[in-house]
Structure formats: structure tokens, C-alpha cells
């Protein structure tokens, strides 16, 4: 079986709002699939449909080659998930929470295995602490432990790094990479952080207003040589005007509060620098920026390399 998830023409309407609009995508076995979009793009609604929390208005979902509605139990027994925040029973301990969700997943699991699972996410020493005493990062890790406790083949994580500090984000990232590379799990991960997805995903889908914008492998979607550069000068407004009438005009993409945005190939950076010096521009800094916001901007302005990779 090449694809673990096969979604076709999925649509969800809430009264007059179309949250997901004719969405189709597939997730290959053993890969990390990034599911990207800004807040409100329809990621969580799609994930909830994949987990049968929300009924689709139309379209079909197949997981492990089976229709989700017809084989719900069979499919969900092999799926582990976190949806948005990992909310757990705060008045119970981590071990009790894990035991409850392991039982609900239909697996017989020994106390040792439960402890091993907590150890895997670095919570073994706090196994008997009440969850209400946990930090956000610890709750997130416990949430992941509950998703993994029954050794699922498919793991769906909705915004797994939300609310985490940099160390927490790095820990989750390493865990995801380990699960994919060492254990051969298939992971579908939603996020609004493009930079995170670039580091862990093999392929990704970007949606906006419930519709697919682009889908493909990370290498195809993001040419690492193509970059957006933030140029900060002593007088941004004047420099912006100056650039509009110069030979650098073709690189100018826009202006932000305190900088000018240039879109160019990495090899062109020295040329631009030389030209700025010739123009007597007082440069304070020049650095590459790669954010989802910028990427969306490029999508909506019809950038050529994006157009080429649209499905």
C-alpha cells in the first residue's frame, strides 16, 4: 500500500460557511506529511474529519485502504492523535491518564510499558504527579505519549508545538523525526509554522480558506536558493522610493513597517549589495526571511516558481 491516507473532494459546510472546500490529498506510508495553513484555514476541521469527530458534508476519506465511515473502529485502533491542545484529566496523574487512554485504545498494556512510554517523552520521574501540576510543555509531551501508547501506524498531530518554548519545540521535532525514521510511522502534522515543517516534513500541503493552494515534496515547494530578504536602512521610505526607479526594481516585493522586502536568488545577493553601495544607501542590515506569511504573499502575488509547482 503506497498511500496511508487518501482524501477525495472533501467538503465541510457549517451553515453558510464552507470550512473545507473540495479538498483532495494523499499521504504516503512512512512519511511525515506537513499540513499547513494560517489560523482558520481549515486544518483542524480537516483533521477532525479524518478522526470522525466531524462528519463531512461531501467527499470521501480512506485510511489504510478502508473507507473511514465503514471501518471506523478498525482504522482508529491504528491511529494516534492529538487535536489542538492535549487536554487531559487534570485531577489524575500522568500514569492514570496514560492507562485510561491505553485501555480506550483497546490494547492490553503492562505498567512497565506505560512507564517506558512516559520515559520516551521524558516524564517518567513525574509519572505520579497530577496533570494539573504540569507545565504546558509537559502536558504536550504527555499528550503525545497518549497518542503513541497503543503503537499506532498513523500519527496525526494538530499543532503539536503550540505553546512550547524553543527547547520544547526542538524535543517534539526530534521525537517526530525519530518516529518517522526509526519506527517507520506515518505522520500527518498540521502547523502554521513553515520553518518547523521545512525541518521535519517530507511533503506538504498548504491550504487557505479551506482550499488547497499547493501540495508537493518540500524540495519541490521551496527552492532553498530563492529567498525573501529584509533590507533595513537609515531611511526605509526614501530607499523604497529610490529602489522603485533603479535597476533593483525587479527585486522589490514590498515594504513593511521598518524594512523593504526584496525577493531574489541567493546568488544575486552580492550583486544587490554592490548596487546598494553604488546608490549610496546606508544599509543597517540585510537578512533572509522565510515565513509562511511571506510564502503566502508570494502565492497570492503569483510568483512563478510557486505557480510551477501548483497541482
Amino acid at each position: 500500500m503506497s498511500n496511508i491516507i487518501e482524501v477525495k473532494n472533501l467538503t465541510k459546510e457549517f451553515k453558510e460557511i464552507r470550512a473545507v472546500d473540495n479538498l483532495s490529498f494523499s499521504v504516503a506510508a512512512g512519511k511525515v506529511y506537513g499540513f499547513l495553513g494560517q489560523n482558520g484555514a481549515g486544518k483542524s476541521t480537516t483533521i477532525r474529519m479524518l478522526l470522525t469527530l466531524i462528519k463531512p458534508s461531501s467527499g470521501s476519506i480512506e485510511i489504510f485502504g478502508m473507507n473511514l465511515q465503514q471501518h471506523r473502529k478498525e482504522i482508529l485502533s491504528q491511529v494516534g492523535a492529538i487535536i489542538e491542545r492535549p487536554d487531559l484529566y487534570k485531577y489524575l496523574t500522568a500514569l492514570e491518564n496514560l492507562r485510561i487512554f491505553a485501555t480506550m485504545s483497546g490494547v492490553k498494556i503492562t505498567e512497565k510499558k506505560l512507564m517506558d512510554q512516559l520515559d520516551e517523552v521524558g516524564l517518567a520521574d513525574r509519572a505520579n504527579s497530577l496533570v494539573k501540576t504540569y507545565s504546558q510543555g509537559m502536558k504536550q509531551r504527555l499528550g503525545i505519549a497518549t497518542a503513541l501508547v497503543h503503537n499506532p501506524k498513523l500519527i496525526i498531530l494538530d499543532e503539536p508545538t503550540n505553546g512550547l518554548d524553543p527547547q520544547g519545540i526542538a524535543d517534539i521535532r526530534n521525537l517526530i523525526i525519530r518516529l518517522s525514521k526509526a519506527s517507520g510511522k506515518t505522520l500527518l502534522i498540521s502547523s502554521h509554522l513553515l520553518s518547523e515543517m521545512e525541518l521535519i516534513a517530507d511533503s506538504m500541503l498548504i491550504i487557505d480558506k479551506g482550499k488547497k493552494l499547493v501540495e508537493g515534496s518540500v524540495n519541490d515547494l521551496f527552492d532553498p536558493a530563492e529567498t525573501v530578504v529584509e533590507l533595513k536602512t537609515t531611511d526605509d521610505a526614501a530607499v523604497f522610493e529610490q529602489l522603485q526607479t533603479s535597476s533593483l526594481q525587479k527585486y522589490v516585493q514590498g515594504k513593511r513597517n521598518d524594512c523593504v522586502l526584496l525577493k531574489l536568488h541567493r546568488n544575486e545577493v552580492p550583486v544587490v549589495m554592490k548596487e546598494l553601495v553604488k546608490m549610496d544607501v546606508n544599509v543597517i542590515s540585510l537578512h533572509s526571511k522565510h515565513s509562511l506569511e511571506d510564502y503566502f504573499l508570494s502565492l497570492t502575488t503569483g510568483n512563478s516558481h510557486v505557480e510551477a509547482t501548483k497541482n
Binding site: 477532525r48 478522526l51 471506523r72 473502529k73 482508529l76 487534570k90 485501555t103 480506550m104 483497546g106 497518549t146
Partner: protein
């Protein structure tokens, strides 16, 4: 299914708030027992005042009246009115509480059907209700029997008095507690149904109590137009039918017949109506929940 039920019970009995109801029952029962232990005679005099125009009571009779069985009857009369709130606290929290905590969405991603989930949740609420009644029976019935001893039970009615021999009482209490369990399960089922629509438990609890209070007022009102049109269909009209187990038949000489119930068909009819209510409330809850999009 049994494992899931065990999980639900574990979750319920791990929460400190669960024990509020047990504490409240104990407090009320002990307060009544203490008051009647030290000032029972005044209470009995007060009760008999209403009947003194047509009856003469000896001091010996008054002394026999105040026993464990009678105390339990007083407690049942007082407490069964308040019990719906205690039951609604847990049943109203069943689904709405999980939605509020955010654990509902995680639970429903597990390989359990929504119908199974509802069965387990409701089953746990029913067991909790039964546990409350067992607790009440231990304190109110057996506790009072130990403190006050046993004797014949005299029940005062507007039509007169009912007297049951001491050996003919205990089974009536078991039957009454069994009936009360069904009555309170009806309230539990209502709170459970309302819980499906809410995302925090306060709403269903308040809504359940509001319905119970309004229905109880309507059930108690003596307005002829309501007697045949509304009252027979209100579940609250049938919740007090447990008292029927303490109304006995008498023979031609007016002597009570041991082991008899004055109007068993009426009690059974009320029981059947309550069971129908439970079925309607629960099946509606399952139907709504199966169709519901989980957005919390």
C-alpha cells in the same frame, strides 16, 4: 465495555466533587437523627396534632411511633426531594464536562463507537445514583434502626393512619429504595440528555433543576384542569409513587393485611412511565450525540 465502565467509575470516584453528595446526605441524615433523638417527642406531637380531632393517642402509642423505621420514612420524605440536584451534578457533567475539559475529542478518536461511549457514560451515572441511594439506605435505614430500634411503622396520611407490623416493613423499604433509584435515574437521564447539548456542566445542571422544580410545582398544584391534562404526563408526578409501598390494604374489619399494597397497579404504572421517560431521554441523547460534530 466493562473495562470502559470501570474507567468511567474510576474517573467519577477520583474527583473530590463526587463526594459532596455523599457528604450532604450524611449531614442531613445525621442532623435529623440527632434532632429526633433528643426532641423526638415534640416532633411526634406536632405530627399527631393534625389528626387529634378524630383520634386519641396513648403515650405508649406515641412512644412506639418513634422508631428507626419511622425516622427513615421522615428522612426519605425530606431527602428524596433534594436528591435530583445531587444526581444532576454528575449526570449533567457526563458529556458537557468532558467537552469543557477538552477530553471529549481525545476520547472519541479512540476505537469506541459513540453509542458505546454513551452507554458507558450513562451506565456510570446510574451506578453513581445507585451508590448514593445505598449510602442513604445505610445511614437512614440501618443507622436509624441501630440508633432508635425497630417497631411497627405508622405512616400518617391525610385520609388517616397506616400501621404496618415491624416484620412487614423492611421489604417495603427495599422496594421504596429500588423505586427511588428508578425515579432518580429519570432525573439522571434528563441531565444526561441536556449534557449532550452543552459545553460546560453548569448549564445542564441548572436546566435539569429548573425542569424538575417547575414540573414538581405543577405536580403538586391542585388545579382541576391540570389534573387530567398535564399531571399524568409529568415524570415528577410519578417520582413520589414510592410512598405507595407504605399504603396497605385492610380487611373488612379494618385490620391491615400484612404484605399487601393498597394500589400496586398504580405504583407499577408510575414505574412504567418513569422507565419510558428514561428510555426516551437516553435514546434521544444517543441520537443527538451520534449526529453531533465535535468542535470543542
Amino acid at each position: 465495555m466493562w473495562k470502559l465502565l470501570k474507567i468511567e467509575l474510576f474517573k467519577i470516584f477520583k474527583r473530590p466533587r463526587t463526594y459532596i453528595a455523599f457528604g450532604a446526605i450524611a449531614a442531613v441524615v445525621f442532623l435529623i437523627q440527632i434532632a429526633l433523638k433528643y426532641d423526638g417527642k415534640s416532633y411526634v406531637d406536632l405530627l399527631l396534632n393534625n389528626l387529634s380531632g378524630s383520634f386519641e393517642f396513648s403515650d405508649e402509642f406515641k412512644g412506639k411511633l418513634l422508631n428507626g423505621y419511622m425516622i427513615c420514612f421522615v428522612i426519605l420524605n425530606t431527602l428524596l426531594i433534594q436528591m435530583p440536584l445531587l444526581v444532576a451534578l454528575i449526570a449533567g457533567d457526563s458529556i458537557a464536562g468532558e467537552a469543557n475539559m477538552g477530553t471529549l475529542r481525545l476520547s472519541l478518536t479512540k476505537p469506541i463507537s459513540r453509542t458505546e461511549y454513551m452507554l458507558v457514560k450513562f451506565g456510570a451515572s446510574v451506578i453513581y445514583t445507585f451508590a448514593l441511594l445505598v449510602w442513604m439506605a445505610i445511614l437512614a435505614l440501618f443507622g436509624s434502626m441501630i440508633i432508635f430500634g425497630t417497631n411497627d411503622l405508622v405512616v400518617l396520611r391525610s385520609e388517616g393512619i397506616e400501621q404496618m407490623k415491624h416484620f412487614d416493613v423492611l421489604w417495603r423499604y427495599f422496594a421504596a429504595f429500588g423505586y427511588a433509584a428508578v425515579a432518580l435515574t429519570t432525573v439522571s437521564a434528563l441531565a444526561f440528555l441536556l449534557s449532550v447539548f452543552a459545553e460546560n456542566s453548569i448549564g445542564p445542571i441548572i436546566a435539569t433543576m429548573s425542569i424538575v422544580i417547575v414540573f414538581t410545582i405543577l405536580s403538586e398544584m391542585n388545579i382541576p384542569i391540570y389534573d387530567q391534562t398535564i399531571k399524568p404526563y409529568l415524570f415528577t408526578s410519578h417520582m413520589v409513587a414510592w410512598k405507595g409501598f407504605f399504603y396497605v390494604q385492610a380487611d373488612a374489619e379494618g385490620t391491615t393485611i400484612n404484605g399487601s399494597i393498597e394500589n400496586l397497579p398504580a405504583v407499577l404504572r408510575s414505574l412504567g412511565i418513569l422507565i419510558i421517560y428514561i428510555g426516551v431521554f437516553f435514546s434521544t441523547a444517543v441520537w443527538v450525540f451520534r449526529k453531533k460534530d465535535i468542535l470543542t
